[in-house]
Amino acid sequence: MKARVTVTLKSGILDPQGKAIEGALKSLGVDGVASVRQGKVFDIELSGSDQAKAEATLKAAADKLLANTVIENYRVEVLS
């Protein structure tokens, strides 16, 4: 099964990298960008085919390692 974990900064957490990207987009003349927040995407291949088990595995992976829940939120998706 293919799965994806998306990790994003919680709102209110300062994101200097996102700010720098936002500035770069503006200087490139990409119009209409109000703000940018940077995050991470993990594409994960899972063995087995049990949807509920897959979600539990992804949640454990995110809680234990992929996200620092002090500053980050995460979302898990089983894609296929």
Partner: protein, 233 residues
């Protein structure tokens, strides 16, 4: 003072740290590989040195914080053992849950590598007894992610409980915006845990311990630790 210096792949300040510990205590520190599941018996203090463990992959310190040896460090700390984390070591201790908060990217986005001034906030702790409260020391920093952040509640607790031991300041000891090199909340350079036995700090006191280094302001931290442990023994 029997010290154990943890070694992770990508760490590069472990020898500087071992040298400073040896200088202060007269004892050779044990170098402990990350895959170990126990600490040498009789260890008085565990030191997590600086560097770039696992290439800073995922988040600084995130992978090292989950290494096998960290379970031993956690139980050592829970039993009241002293733990010192410097630079990447501070990041590792935060990621391991031994200290609250997180070290974010420097507010100016640049890697900062130069001497800074720190104000020692109190002298009645094992990590600061070699200094006077309010003393200003000069030590180097070398980091890209040293911007300490925590939620308001945590910051309030840290301040209320006197757990900020080192703060970025001017040469005169003024804590202000220009001296807060990385944008850290409350100009925090070093904090202790609730029990006061785990210190994390971004600057490198181990790099200012001998005259050849141009400054010996970092010595007080190690001398204080050695004195504390001698008295306890």
């Amino acid at each position: 003072m029997k010290s154990a210096v943890l070694v992770f792949p990508g760490i590069n300040r472990e020898r500087d740290m071992a040298r400073a510990l040896r200088l202060a205590s007269g004892h050779e520190p044990a170098m402990v590989w990350h895959a170990e599941t126990s600490l040498p018996s009789g260890t008085d203090i565990v030191v997590v040195p600086g560097g770039f463990s696992y290439g800073d992959y995922l988040r600084c310190g995130a992978i090292a914080a989950r290494a096998p040896v960290m379970d031993a460090v956690r139980s050592f700390a829970a039993g009241g053992g002293l733990v010192l984390g410097v630079c990447n070591g501070f990041q590792i201790l935060c990621e391991a849950g031994l200290l609250p908060g997180v070290l974010m990217r420097n507010a100016g986005l640049k890697f900062i590598c130069h001497d800074v001034h720190l104000r020692v906030e109190r002298s009645d702790t094992p990590f600061t007894r070699g200094y006077n409260a309010g003393q200003v020391i000069r030590v180097p920093v070398a980091h890209g992610e040293g911007n300490y952040e925590a939620d308001d509640e945590t910051l309030k607790r840290l301040e209320g409980e006197g757990r900020v031991l080192y703060r970025y300041c001017s040469a005169q000891g003024t804590v202000d915006k220009p001296s807060n090199i990385n944008g850290a909340a409350h100009s925090i350079a070093g904090i202790v845990n609730e029990a006061g036995n785990v210190l994390g700090m971004m600057p490198h006191p181990e790099n200012h311990v001998e005259h050849v280094m141009g400054c010996t302001d970092g010595r007080g931290l190690f001398a204080g630790l050695a004195a504390h442990l001698e008295r306890a023994a």
